[in-house]
């Protein structure tokens, strides 16, 4: 990540130590993950020790310290989704992306995660792709949606 962009984000929050989480969230949103240079830069500018930033960044699931794919796929495995076949949806998503939950493919296209509830159980099984909720998912539709990301030509 460009150091200028990191600085711009820190400036937006007036370099205050209390804004650490907001700064990390902004970097996460812009870059999809938090690189090491961002941690050292934030540490310098906010005068917060790197150990503390790492503690915060590993505490919240919203942050990733490893590179993430261009598309975030969250498959809900909560109780309501589970009884409506979330595990089949997850299987189909794994087959379509070629990765397991918690992983990112080498082409940096997808990151797959499971979540325990997205809060819209009536729509289950639910899959969230790039922040958009897809309700009443089926295995076939999940595979189709995942393969349709970035246009059909780019899928294997």
């Amino acid at each position: 990540m460009d150091i200028g962009r990191i600085d711009a984000i820190i400036d937006r929050h007036r370099s205050e130590a209390s804004s650490l989480i907001q700064i990390l969230l902004d970097i996460q949103a812009e870059n999809r993950w938090i690189p090491g240079e961002a941690i050292s830069r934030i540490g310098e500018r906010l005068e917060v020790p790197a150990a503390r930033i790492r503690h915060v960044a590993t505490f919240y699931k919203a942050f990733s310290l490893v590179p993430r794919g261009r598309h975030e796929i969250h498959v809900c495995m909560g109780t309501a989704c589970h009884v409506r076949g979330a595990s089949r949806v997850l299987d189909a998503s794994q087959d379509a992306t070629g990765i397991r939950p918690g992983e990112t493919d080498p082409g940096m296209k997808f990151s797959l995660e499971t979540v325990n509830c997205l809060g819209c159980c009536a729509l289950g099984p639910v899959v969230e792709i790039d922040g958009k909720i897809h309700g009443r998912m089926t295995a076939a539709r999940a595979a189709e949606t995942v393969k349709g990301l970035e246009g059909p030509r780019k899928t294997e």
Binding site: P49, A50, A51, R52, R54, T58
Partner: protein, 210 residues
């Protein structure tokens, strides 16, 4: 400063305002077991082994004595069947991490804790935070910190800082009740601190070394 009077195990104790129950007990010569407490550090309340029963205005509560401030007319019980049961369970859990730690096994013998009640954990860190807090509060170096949370929480050396600061210090080593810290350092040293290993013909950090 205002004097606060309270009773600990039936004994009349006076303590300055703002002192903790643990400190008051210590001055009165009453022993409360601790694992994460250190006189030079801020109270942390991590290990919960110093739990006591505190009774004020007719109701009794379980409180952690190392972070609980003294109150006027507080009646504290440091041993009771209830306290002993809780301490035993805490020790059962700690033994799953560090069955051979002298401090933990000493307390385990005292409270009859069971070594094999819970499945053994791979890490023998008991998360007392002594190393992390000592490095942050006393040395102000922050070379070691916590990462993760819940069952995945662990201590982790920050290679950039540790390669500069740790070699000549290591003051946190004797604080560790389980020697996990030493193990974590050895691991960090071998994986992430090339300077320490290639002593002599290195490097960007030790400018004066040949």
């Amino acid at each position: 400063m205002k004097e606060i009077r309270l009773r600990i195990d039936g004994k009349e104790v006076a303590a300055p305002e703002g002192a903790t129950v643990l400190e008051a007990a210590k001055t009165a010569g009453i022993r409360i077991p601790t694992l994460c407490h250190h006189d030079g550090l801020e109270p942390f309340g991590a290990c919960r082994i110093c739990i006591v029963e505190a009774e004020a205005r007719g109701s009794s509560r379980l409180v952690v004595s190392c972070v609980y401030p003294v109150e006027e007319n507080l009646a504290v019980r440091t041993r009771s069947p209830r306290i002993d049961r809780i301490r035993k369970t805490i020790l059962d859990l700690l033994l799953a991490h560090a069955p051979d730690s002298p401090q933990v096994s000493g307390l385990a013998a005292e409270y009859g804790a069971l070594r094999d009640r819970f499945e053994k954990e791979g890490s023998f860190c008991i998360h007392c935070g002594l190393c992390v807090r000592y490095c942050a509060e006393v040395k102000k170096k922050h070379a070691v910190g916590f990462i993760g949370r819940g069952i995945r929480k662990e201590i982790c050396f920050i290679p950039e800082v540790a390669s500069r600061e740790c070699k000549g210090c290591k003051e946190c080593f004797p604080l560790c009740p389980t020697s996990y810290l030493q193990a974590a350092y050895a691991l960090a040293e071998s994986l992430a601190l090339p300077c320490v290993i290639n002593r002599g013909h290195c490097c960007s950090h030790g400018a004066q070394s040949p």
